[in-house]
C-alpha cells in the first residue's frame, strides 16, 4: 500500500497530488428543520406507534443522533394498510387519472422547491456527498414524479387494446442507499396507476421519506393514499405478510428478497424485486481510455459504492491493463473523502457501522485470497464511518471478492484477452443487474451488449439514470422492471 499521495508510472516517474493548494472547506450551510421525533404517517396524519417504541437515526459522518423515529409493529402496519384500503376504495381508485396526475405534479413541484433542504437531510442521514444528493438523488426523484404524473391519464395509450385497472394497496420496502429516490421510484408509478401505498423506508435512513410525508400533507393528497411507516426488518415482514396488501415492491438485498419471495409464494400478491448485483465493467483496448477511467470511478465510487448496479467487477483487456490501472490510481489519488456536506467531497460516509464492518471484512478476505490491495492514500476523518477507495489487482473468478456483493468503494480487477472471454466471465455470476462496455467500435458495443445477461447495460458511460428508462435485473438480481413504461405494468391488471 502506498503511503504517499503520489502514483508511480512504469519508468519510475511520479505525479504528486498532495498539492500546496488545498481546497478550503466549503460546507453546505443552509439550516434545515429536523424534528427531534418523528411519528408514523398514517391516514394523512402523524401518529404514535401502538406499542410506543422508537429508535434513533444517526448521521454516519459524525455518529451523532439526528432524531428518533417510531418503530411500527404489526398493529401499526394493520392500521396503515386499512387506511390505504379506505383511501383506495373511497377516493383514489375512483378519481379520474387527470386529477391523480395533478396531485403527483404537485408533489414533484414541491420537491423541486425544497430540493436544497431534502439534499442536505439526505446527506446528513445517509452519508452521501452533497454533490450527489444535490445533483442526482433529489432532481431525479422529482423527475420520477413528473414523469409518472404524465402517465396518470394516459394509461390506455400505454397498453393499447387493454383495459388497465389498479391493483389496490401496494406495500413498498426501500433500501438505505438512495432513500428519497427509491421512495420516488416506488410511490410515483403506484399513484399514477391508481394504487394506494404503504411505504417502509430503511431503518438507517428514514428522514427524507418522513420529510416527504410532510410534503405530501402540504400537497393535500387525500388521507391514506400514501402512508409511511418506519421500523426494522420485522415491520417490513409484517407489511409483506399482511393479507390486505395486493402488491409488494421491494428493493434491497438478495437474501431478504428470497425470504420475501418465499413468504409470498402461497399468496396471490403481485411482486417486483430489485436486488443485489455484481456488475461487470468491461474495458476493451480500443476504448477511449481516459474517459473509461472516469467511467470506472463513476461506476464503483458513486455513492460510496452503495449501488446495486455498481461496476464492482472490472475487466480490462490485457494489452491495456497496466495503463488503465496506472491511470486509475492517478485518478483515485485525487478523490476527496470526507464530510458529506462539503461541496468538494467526492466520497462521503459509509451508511452505517454494520456496513463498514462488512466492507472491512471483505478487504480482509480479499487479501487472504491473495489479491493485491491498493487504497487511495487520501485523508479520512477520524470519527464517523469512512472507507478509502480501494482496488484489488490480480483477482480471479474464484475469489469471494469477485463473486459476492461488497456494496462499498471496492473494485475487483481482472484481465481478459478476447471478446468471448470477457463475455463469458461477465456472465459467470449469479447476478445480472447491470454492466458496462467501453470501446470506440460501435459493432463491438452491439455484439457484447446483446450477449451480456444483465438488465441494464451502459456503453461508454456508467450509472446513468432516467425516469423514462426501465431498470431491473436477471437471475438473483430480481424480477420486474421499474421506470419507464415498463414500470407501470407491475401496478396494473391488464385485461
Amino acid at each position: 500500500m502506498s503511503d504517499q499521495k503520489a502514483t508511480t508510472g512504469g519508468n519510475g516517474v511520479k505525479l504528486n497530488f498532495s498539492t500546496d493548494w488545498k481546497y478550503a472547506p466549503a460546507p453546505e450551510t443552509a439550516k434545515v428543520q429536523i424534528k427531534p421525533r418523528y411519528e408514523l404517517f398514517i391516514d394523512g396524519k402523524f401518529s404514535a406507534p401502538a406499542k410506543g417504541g422508537y429508535f434513533d437515526t444517526i448521521n454516519p459522518a459524525t455518529e451523532k443522533k439526528l432524531a428518533e423515529v417510531a418503530s411500527a409493529t404489526g398493529e401499526d402496519v394493520d392500521r396503515a394498510v386499512k387506511a390505504a384500503r379506505r383511501a383506495y376504495d373511497k377516493t383514489w381508485s375512483k378519481m379520474p387519472g387527470k386529477e391523480r396526475g395533478k396531485y403527483i405534479y404537485r408533489i414533484a413541484r414541491l420537491l423541486q422547491e425544497r430540493a436544497r433542504e431534502f439534499s442536505i437531510i439526505e446527506s446528513m442521514d445517509g452519508g452521501k456527498s452533497i454533490r450527489e444528493s444535490r445533483d442526482v438523488d433529489i432532481p431525479l426523484a422529482a423527475a420520477h414524479f413528473f414523469y409518472y404524473a404524465g402517465w396518470a391519464d394516459k394509461l390506455e395509450y400505454a397498453f393499447p387494446g387493454k383495459r388497465p385497472t389498479p391493483l389496490g394497496v401496494a406495500g413498498q420496502i426501500i433500501p438505505w442507499n438512495f432513500p428519497l429516490l427509491m421512495a420516488a421510484w416506488k410511490i410515483a408509478p403506484a399513484l399514477a396507476t391508481g394504487n394506494t401505498v404503504v411505504l417502509k423506508p430503511a431503518e438507517t435512513t428514514p428522514l427524507t421519506a418522513l420529510k416527504l410525508a410532510e410534503l405530501i400533507q402540504d400537497a393535500d393528497l387525500p388521507p391514506g393514499v400514501v402512508n409511511i411507516i418506519t421500523g426494522a426488518g420485522e415491520t417490513g415482514a409484517a407489511l409483506v405478510n399482511h393479507p390486505g396488501v395486493d402488491k409488494i415492491a421491494f428493493t434491497g438485498s438478495t437474501d431478504v428478497g428470497k425470504i420475501i419471495q418465499k413468504s409470498l409464494a402461497p399468496s396471490r400478491k403481485k411482486f417486483t424485486l430489485e436486488l443485489g448485483g455484481k456488475a461487470a465493467n468491461i474495458i476493451f483496448e480500443d476504448a477511449p481510455i481516459d474517459q473509461a477511467v472516469e467511467g470506472i470511478i463513476n461506476g464503483i465510487f458513486f455513492n460510496q459504492g452503495h449501488v446495486c448496479c455498481a461496476g464492482s467487477r472490472l475487466f480490462i483487456q490485457e494489452s491495456v491493463a497496466d495503463l488503465v490501472v496506472r491511470k486509475l490510481k492517478d485518478r483515485m489519488a485525487t478523490l476527496i473523502v470526507g464530510d458529506p456536506l462539503d461541496k468538494n467531497t467526492d466520497i462521503g460516509a459509509i451508511n452505517s457501522r454494520v456496513q463498514l464492518d462488512k466492507i472491512n471484512e471483505y478487504l480482509d478476505i480479499g487479501q487472504r485470497e491473495g489479491a493485491e490491495m491498493w487504497c487511495a492514500s487520501c485523508d479520512v476523518p477520524t470519527s464517523g464511518f469512512f472507507c478509502r477507495p480501494t482496488l484489488f489487482l490480480n483477482c480471479s473468478q474464484s475469489h469471494r471478492i469477485v463473486q459476492e456483493e461488497i456494496f462499498g468503494p471496492v473494485v475487483a480487477i481482472q484481465t481478459f484477452r478476447t471478446v468471448a472471454e470477457a463475455i463469458e466471465k461477465a456472465n459467470n455470476t449469479p447476478y445480472g443487474l447491470s454492466g458496462g462496455v467501453w470501446t470506440d467500435k460501435g459493432s463491438k458495443i452491439f455484439k457484447v451488449t446483446s450477449k451480456l445477461r444483465a438488465g441494464v447495460i451502459w456503453a461508454n458511460t456508467y450509472n446513468k439514470f432516467d425516469p423514462t428508462s426501465p431498470f431491473g435485473g436477471y437471475k438473483e438480481s430480481g424480477m420486474g422492471r421499474e421506470g419507464g413504461l415498463h414500470g407501470l405494468q407491475p401496478y396494473l391488471n391488464l385485461n
Binding site: V13, A24, T334, N344
Partner: protein, 307 residues
C-alpha cells in the same frame, strides 16, 4: 501508449494515440468545475493565476507606446494591493520584442514572441524559420509558434513534425510553445494527436490557440492536452508545459483551469514554468477579486488600470 525514442526525435505512431470520447470529457469537466474554491484557497489560486499570465497584445495596431504601457502593467499589476505577483511573461509580435525586452528588464518577466507566420501559419518553412530566428535575435525568451493546420488536417504528419522540430532548432535557448489552434482541428481526437505529435517533435509547451479563432481555449480541450502531457511524462519522464490562450477573461474561469490542472497533473505543474494562461483582459478581473477578498467589497473596474 505511444512508443518513444528518447535519444532522437521521431514521429510517434499517431494511430496509437488514445481516442477521446467528447461526452466523457465534458462530463469530467462538468464535475471539475463544480469544485467550490473559497477563502484562503481562492486567494492562493488567484495569485497563482496572476503569476501564470502571459500578458498579451497581438494587434496589427500595436505600437511602441502600447507595448511599453503593457510591459509596465506586467510588472506593476496593482501597486495599491500588497503581495501581488507580476505576470509570467508578455507576449508580442517579433518586431516589438526588443522594446518589450528593454521595458521588462530586471523584473524577471519573460518576453514571448509569436512567430512562424502567426496566426495562420500559411507561409513557407524558410520564412517561418527566419521569423523565428529574428524573434530570438531580438531577445525573445520564448517562441509561440503555430502549426500548419492545413498540413495536419491533410494527414501530413511528417510535415508538421519536421516543421516543429526545425523551429525548435531555430529557437536555440528560447523555449518553444507550439500552438495547435484547436478551434480549427475539429475534434478532440485530433487535439490529442496534435499534442502527441508536438511533444515528440520537441515542444516545451503546447498551447491551445492563437486567440484569433473561435472557439479559442476551452476546458475540454485543455483537459485532453493535459492528459496527453501526463501520458508523455509517464512515457519519457519529460515535463511539458501547457498554455490555454484566448477567451479566459474571468477569475472564476481561470480558477477552473487551475482545478483541472491540479487534478490532472498535480503539484509539479502548479508553476509558471509549466502552466501559462494567455490573456489580455484576465488580470484586472483577478485583481478585482483579490481586492474584494482583502477589503470585503467589490470596486468598479475604474479602479484598475487598463494598459
Amino acid at each position: 501508449m505511444i512508443a518513444t525514442n528518447t535519444t532522437s526525435l521521431s514521429l510517434p505512431d499517431l494511430s496509437r494515440s488514445p481516442t477521446i470520447d467528447q461526452v466523457g470529457v465534458e462530463e469530467r469537466i462538468e464535475r471539475l468545475t463544480k469544485r467550490s474554491i473559497k477563502k484562503d484557497s481562492k486567494v492562493l489560486a488567484l495569485k497563482l493565476a496572476l503569476s501564470m499570465i502571459d500578458l498579451t497584445t497581438l494587434e496589427g495596431a500595436d505600437s511602441d507606446g502600447k507595448v511599453r504601457q503593457m510591459c509596465y502593467k506586467a510588472a506593476h499589476l496593482h501597486d495599491a494591493l500588497p503581495g501581488v505577483p507580476h505576470v509570467a511573461a508578455v507576449c508580442v509580435y517579433p518586431t516589438l520584442v526588443r522594446l518589450a525586452k528593454q521595458t521588462v528588464n530586471g523584473t524577471g518577466i519573460k518576453v514571448a514572441a509569436v512567430a512562424t507566420g502567426f496566426p495562420s501559419g500559411q507561409y513557407p518553412l524558410d520564412v517561418k524559420l527566419r521569423d523565428t530566428r529574428y524573434a530570438v535575435e531580438e531577445g525573445a525568451d520564448e517562441i509561440d509558434m503555430v502549426i500548419s493546420r492545413g498540413h495536419f488536417l491533410a494527414g501530413e504528419y511528417n510535415y508538421v513534425f519536421d516543421e516543429i522540430a526545425q523551429v525548435k532548432e531555430a529557437c536555440g535557448a528560447a523555449h518553444l510553445k507550439v500552438i495547435l489552434e484547436t478551434g480549427e482541428l475539429g475534434q478532440l481526437d485530433q487535439v490529442r494527436k496534435a499534442s502527441d505529435l508536438a511533444m515528440h517533435a520537441g515542444a516545451d509547451f503546447i498551447k491551445t490557440s492563437t486567440g484569433k479563432v473561435v472557439p479559442a481555449a476551452t476546458l475540454p480541450v485543455t483537459l485532453v492536452m493535459l492528459e496527453a502531457i501526463r501520458d508523455f511524462y509517464h512515457a519519457t519522464g519529460k515535463k511539458i508545459g501547457m498554455k490555454p490562450a484566448g477567451g479566459i477573461s474571468t477569475a472564476k474561469v481561470a480558477i477552473q483551469y487551475l482545478v483541472v490542472l491540479r487534478e490532472t497533473l498535480g503539484q509539479d505543474w502548479m508553476t509558471p514554468d509549466l502552466f501559462r494562461i494567455g490573456a489580455s483582459r484576465l488580470a484586472n478581473d483577478i485583481l478585482m477579486q483579490l481586492t474584494k477578498e482583502a477589503s470585503g467589497v467589490y470596486q468598479s473596474l475604474d479602479y484598475f488600470s487598463k494598459d
